[in-house]
C-alpha cells in the first residue's frame, strides 16, 4: 500500500560537478516508524537527507511526501510539509528560555510584542509529556535535553518526518536510552524518524527498518531490522565480511612501568593503579564516576588534581599541563575532535607535527625536510586518504581526521597513551584499523589507557578493565571472560544509584 509511506524517493541522482554522489537511489520511510540510514562517510547519506530536507536539489529523480509529488521544494517548503533535519550541532540559543527556543522565530506576538504569558502557557502544555520546564534557561540543559528540545521544536513547527543526523554523538549510555525512549514515545504518536548513525547497536535497538548506502548506491532498502544482526549490517556497510578485531591478551607480560599514587581531585580519589609496559587498560564507569577525569588528570588537563605518576619507580608529581605531560612521555587523544582535537583550518601536515615540533626543528626553526619525512611516514603508516599534505584538516572525513590526530600522538614517541573515545563517529572499517594500530602500539612497549562508553569495543581490545565508581577504582578485572553485562552489573551494583539504574537496559 503506497499510502503507508510518508516519504518516497525514487531513482535519485545527484551530481556535484563531475562527482556522482548518488547513483539512482530509492528510499521509502513508513509512517510512524524509525528508519535507520547507514553507510560509511562519503557513502551519500548526508546528500540524500539534504535532498529530502530541501537543502540541495537532486539532479534527477522523484520524491513524494504523503503520496504527493514534490517538485523543486526548498528547505522552507519542506518544513511547511513537515520535514525537519536536526543536525549534530544542537541549534539552541543558550541565553534564552526553553519556551523561547521551542518557538524560535515563531514567537506568538501582537503588533511586534511577544506575548510572553501566552507563549509560556503554550509551551507548558506542549512540553508536559517531555518533562522539560519551559522556564529554564537553555544553557542549563544537558546535552540530551538539548537534543530533545531540537526534536520538540521541529514537532512544534508541525514536523512529521524528523531526520536525525547522528543524534547520539557525545551522549552517555543513560542519555542515549532517554533519547530512544523519547523517540519511541513520539513514534507511537505516528511521528516518523530517519535516523543516521554509525553504530549498529543503535540501529538494532531503535529502528524498525534500515537502509544502507554504499558508494552512492542503495545496498539494502527498507530491510526489516528484526531480521538482521550487527555483522549483517557491517557487511552491508562495507561490502565484505568484517573480522572484528580481538586482542590476544597475555596476562603475564611486561613489568609494571607506571604507577599512579594518591590521586586526589574534586570527585576523584584513586589510591593506586599499576600499569604494565605494553598493557592496554580500559577505564570504564558511569559518567562522573572518575574514569574520564582520571584520564584528564594524568595528562595535566585537571590542574587542580594532586598526586603522583611514577615511572619505573621514579616518583613524579602529576603533570601540570599537557606540555609537561608530553615531555614526560604521555600523549592524549581528545574525545571531541572538533572541540579540542583538530585545527580545522590548518593543513594536515601542520596538524600532524603540532605536538612534536621540537623533533622537526632546530633552534626554533622548522626543518621542512624533517617535517616532510615525519608526515610521509605517518601518512603511509595510517593510510590517510586526502588530496595532499596541505589540505585543511577540516575538509577530511571523521575517520581520516582521527588518523591524523593519532599520527600527531604517535609522533611524540609516547610511553603512555590515553585514548578517549578513539572510534567515536568513524566508520566500521576505520574503527578496526584504529584497533589494530593501538594493538601495534602496545606491542612496541607503549602502555595504553582506553576510555570509551562502548564497552563491547573496550572488551575486545584491552587486557584489563578498571571499573570506576564514585571517583574510585572499585575493581580491576582481566578483560578476558568479562561480558558487557558483567561490567554494567559492577558499575551499577557498586553504586548508590543501583536502585534506579538497575532497571535501565544496557547500552
Amino acid at each position: 500500500m503506497a499510502d503507508d509511506y510518508l516519504i518516497e524517493v525514487d531513482d535519485c541522482i545527484k551530481r556535484y560537478g563531475g562527482v556522482v554522489a548518488l547513483k539512482g537511489v530509492s528510499l521509502r520511510v513508513r509512517k510512524g516508524s524509525v528508519h535507520g540510514l547507514l553507510g560509511e562517510n562519503g557513502a551519500g547519506k548526508s546528500t540524500l537527507v539534504k535532498i529530502i530536507a530541501g537543502i540541495v536539489q537532486a539532479t534527477s529523480g522523484t520524491m513524494r511526501f504523503n503520496g504527493e509529488e514534490i517538485v523543486d521544494a526548498d528547505v522552507k517548503a519542506m518544513e511547511e510539509k513537515g520535514v525537519f533535519l536536526v543536525t549534530q550541532e544542537p541549534m539552541i540559543v543558550e541565553p534564552m528560555t526553553v519556551a523561547d527556543n521551542l518557538m524560535l522565530g515563531r514567537w506568538p506576538a501582537r503588533s511586534g510584542f511577544v506575548r510572553d504569558r501566552h507563549m509560556m502557557a503554550l509551551a507548558t502544555s506542549f512540553l508536559e509529556e517531555a518533562n522539560l520546564d519551559p522556564r529554564r534557561l537553555a544553557s542549563t540543559l544537558s546535552v540530551v535535553e538539548k537534543r530533545k528540545l531540537n526534536i520538540l521544536r521541529a514537532l512544534h513547527s508541525g514536523g512529521k518526518l524528523i531526520i536525525l543526523d547522528e543524534p547520539t554523538t557525545a551522549l552517555t549510555m543513560a542519555d542515549k536510552h532517554q533519547l530512544f525512549t523519547f523517540m519511541k514515545q513520539l513514534r507511537a504518536q505516528s511521528v516518523s524518524f530517519l535516523f543516521i548513525s554509525h553504530y549498529n547497536e543503535e540501529i538494532l535497538e531503535i529502528c524498525d527498518e534500515v537502509s544502507v548506502l554504499r558508494d552512492g548506491q542503495m545496498i539494502g532498502q527498507g530491510q526489516v531490522v528484526s531480521h538482521l544482526d550487527s555483522s549483517a549490517l557491517s557487511e552491508m556497510v562495507i561490502g565484505r565480511d568484517v573480522h572484528l578485531f580481538k586482542r590476544v591478551t597475555d596476562e603475564a607480560k611486561g613489568d609494571v612501568v607506571w604507577t599512579l599514587r594518591d590521586v586526589r581531585a574534586s570527585g576523584l580519589s584513586v589510591d593506586r593503579l599499576d600499569i604494565r609496559k605494553g598493557e592496554i587498560i580500559g577505564f570504564a564507569g558511569l559518567p562522573g564516576s572518575g574514569a574520564k577525569e582520571l584520564g584528564r588528570a594524568i595528562y595535566g588537563l585537571m590542574p587542580s588534581a594532586r598526586g603522583f605518576l611514577d615511572e619505573s619507580g621514579v616518583a613524579h608529581a602529576l603533570p601540570r599541563d599537557p606540555a609537561e605531560a608530553l615531555r614526560t612521555g604521555i600523549a592524549f587523544l581528545s574525545e571531541d575532535r572538533l572541540r579540542d582535537g583538530i585545527i580545522a583550518i590548518q593543513s594536515i601536515a601542520e596538524n600532524m607535527t603540532l605536538s612534536s615540533l621540537p623533533a622537526v626543528s632546530r633552534f626554533g626553526w622548522v626543518s621542512r625536510s624533517a617535517e616532510r619525512q615525519l608526515v610521509e611516514k605517518f601518512w603511509r603508516l595510517f593510510a590517510v586518504k586526502a588530496a595532499s599534505h596541505a589540505a585543511p584538516l577540516g575538509s577530511l572525513s571523521g575517520g581520516n581526521q582521527q588518523k591524523v590526530l593519532l599520527s600527531r600522538l604517535v609522533a611524540t614517541e609516547p610511553r603512555l597513551v590515553i585514548l578517549n573515545e578513539p572510534t567515536r563517529g568513524i566508520d566500521v572499517g576505520v574503527k578496526e584499523e584504529v584497533h589494530r594500530l593501538v594493538d601495534d602500539l602496545s606491542h612496541r612497549g607503549v602502555s595504553v589507557i582506553i576510555i570509551t562508553s562502548d564497552i563491547e569495543e573496550m572488551l575486545r581490545i584491552v587486557d584489563r578493565v578498571a571499573l570506576f565508581v564514585d571517583g574510585r577504582i572499585s575493581a580491576i578485572e582481566p578483560a578476558h571472560g568479562l561480558t558487557k553485562e558483567d561490567v554494567f552489573e559492577m558499575a551499577y551494583s557498586a553504586s548508590d544509584r543501583s536502585v534506579s539504574a538497575s532497571h535501565q537496559p544496557l547500552h
Binding site: Y16, G17, E89, P90, E94, S142, V143, K146, A170, T172, P287, G288, K292, Y299, L301, D321, P322, A323, A325, L326, F332, S334, E335, D336, L338, R339, D340, G341, I342, I343, A344, I345, Q346, E350, T353, L354, S355, L357, P358, S361, G364, W365, V366, P392, G394, S395, L396, R408, T412
Partner: protein
C-alpha cells in the same frame, strides 16, 4: 561531563564549510587569495590615469615612506589577530612610547640611542602588560586594550601637557630624513620588517604555535602548546613593533603631537583584515598584510594626488576600504584559505 558545549568558534569552520571549496578551481582560489593585490594594481592604474604624477619616482617614494609606519603598525596589529585576540592600544602605544623616548633624550639628556631604546622598551612593556591582563587575568582583549588605548592617549596628553615635542637631535631624525642616492631609507625598514615577519610566521616553531593557537586554542592546549605564553609573546612582540613604528613616525615627522598616532588606529587594524587576516584568529599571511598596507596607503596618497577636495577624502577613502572588505568577505565565502 559533556554538558558544556563549546564556545569556541569552531562551528564557524565546520567541515562542511571547508568541503565546499572543492568546487572552486585552484587558479580561482589563488586569484581570490591575493585579491587585495589585484585591487591594489587596479587602483594604481586608475590613480595613474587620473594624474600622471602618480607614476613618478618621487610619488612612489612617498607612498613607500608613508607605508612604512602603517606597515609596521599593521604587523603589530596582526600578531594579536593571528592568535584570535585584538589590540586596539597599539596606536596609542606608538604615540606615548615615542614621547617617552624623546623626553628621555630632551629632558633627561640621555644619549639618543639610549632614549630610543627606552621608548621602544616602554612600548614592549605595555604590550607585555596587555598580554598578561588577557591571559592571566582573563580580561577580554577588545575591552582591555580599549581601556589601555584611552589610558595611553590620555597619558600622552598629560606628559606633553598638550604641547608638541620638537627640536630633536639630528641623530634622532636621521632615519626619517636620510636619503641614499635620492631614495629614503625608511622603506628599507618596511621590507626588513615584512621579511622578518614572513620568516617568523612560515619558518619558525613560534609561527606554528601562533597559527595553532589562533586556529583552535583548546586543541592547541591539548597538543601541548602553552597557549597563554604564545599570546603573551604575541602581545609583547606587537608592543615592540609599535614602539619601533613610534620612533620612525617621530623621526620622519620631526614632531610628536599630543595626539600622536591616533589617526593610525583604525587603518592599522583594517590593513591586515583587508589583507586576509581573520579576526577569529589562525588565518592570514605576510603577503596579505603587505597588500592591505599598500592598498590603504595608495588610497590615501592617491586621493591627495588627484586633488579630491579634502572634505571628501575621508568619505571616499572609507568607501574604498568598505569595498575592499566586501570583496574579501566574498573571497572567504567562496572558501579561499590563507
Amino acid at each position: 561531563m559533556n554538558t558544556k558545549t563549546s564556545v569556541m568558534p569552531t562551528v564557524a569552520v565546520a567541515p562542511g564549510a571547508v568541503a565546499k571549496n572543492a568546487g572552486a578551481s585552484p587558479s580561482v582560489q589563488l586569484l581570490l587569495k591575493y585579491v587585495v593585490w589585484i585591487w591594489l594594481v587596479g587602483l594604481v592604474i586608475v590613480f595613474g590615469l587620473l594624474n600622471k604624477f602618480f607614476f613618478t619616482t618621487s610619488n612612489l617614494q612617498n607612498i613607500l615612506t608613508q607605508a612604512t609606519v602603517l606597515g609596521l603598525l599593521g604587523l603589530a596589529a596582526s600578531l594579536p589577530l593571528l592568535v584570535g585576540e585584538i589590540d586596539l592600544s597599539i596606536a596609542g602605544n606608538m604615540g606615548i612610547s615615542s614621547a617617552i623616548g624623546a623626553l628621555a633624550i630632551l629632558q633627561l639628556h640621555m644619549p639618543t640611542f639610549l632614549g630610543v631604546i627606552v621608548g621602544v622598551g616602554a612600548a614592549t612593556l605595555i604590550g607585555f602588560f596587555n598580554g598578561l591582563c588577557i591571559t592571566r587575568l582573563r580580561m577580554v582583549s577588545l575591552i582591555e586594550t580599549l581601556g589601555m588605548m584611552i589610558i595611553l592617549q590620555g597619558g600622552l596628553l598629560a606628559i606633553t601637557q598638550g604641547a608638541t615635542i620638537t627640536d630633536f637631535t639630528d641623530a634622532y631624525t636621521w632615519v626619517g630624513q636620510t636619503t641614499v642616492g635620492g631614495w629614503p631609507v625608511m622603506p628599507l625598514v618596511l621590507f626588513v620588517g615584512f621579511i622578518g615577519m614572513a620568516v617568523l610566521l612560515r619558518r619558525t616553531v613560534f609561527g606554528r604555535k601562533l597559527y595553532a593557537t589562533g586556529g583552535n586554542a583548546a586543541a592547541a592546549h591539548v597538543a601541548g602548546i602553552r597557549v597563554n605564553k604564545v599570546k603573551i609573546v604575541a602581545f609583547t612582540l606587537s608592543g615592540f613593533i609599535a614602539g619601533i613604528a613610534g620612533y620612525f613616525l617621530a623621526s620622519w615627522q620631526m614632531a610628536i603631537t599630543s595626539d600622536q598616532g591616533e589617526g593610525f588606529l583604525l587603518y592599522s587594524i583594517a590593513a591586515p583584515i583587508i589583507g586576509g587576516v581573520s579576526v577569529f584568529g589562525g588565518r592570514g599571511d605576510t603577503w596579505g598584510i603587505l597588500g592591505g598596507v599598500l592598498l590603504l596607503t595608495v588610497i590615501h596618497v592617491g586621493l591627495a594626488v588627484v586633488n579630491v577636495p579634502s572634505f571628501y577624502v575621508d568619505m571616499i577613502g572609507g568607501f574604498l576600504i568598505f569595498i575592499a572588505v566586501a570583496v574579501d568577505a566574498i573571497r572567504v565565502g567562496m572558501g579561499g584559505t590563507r
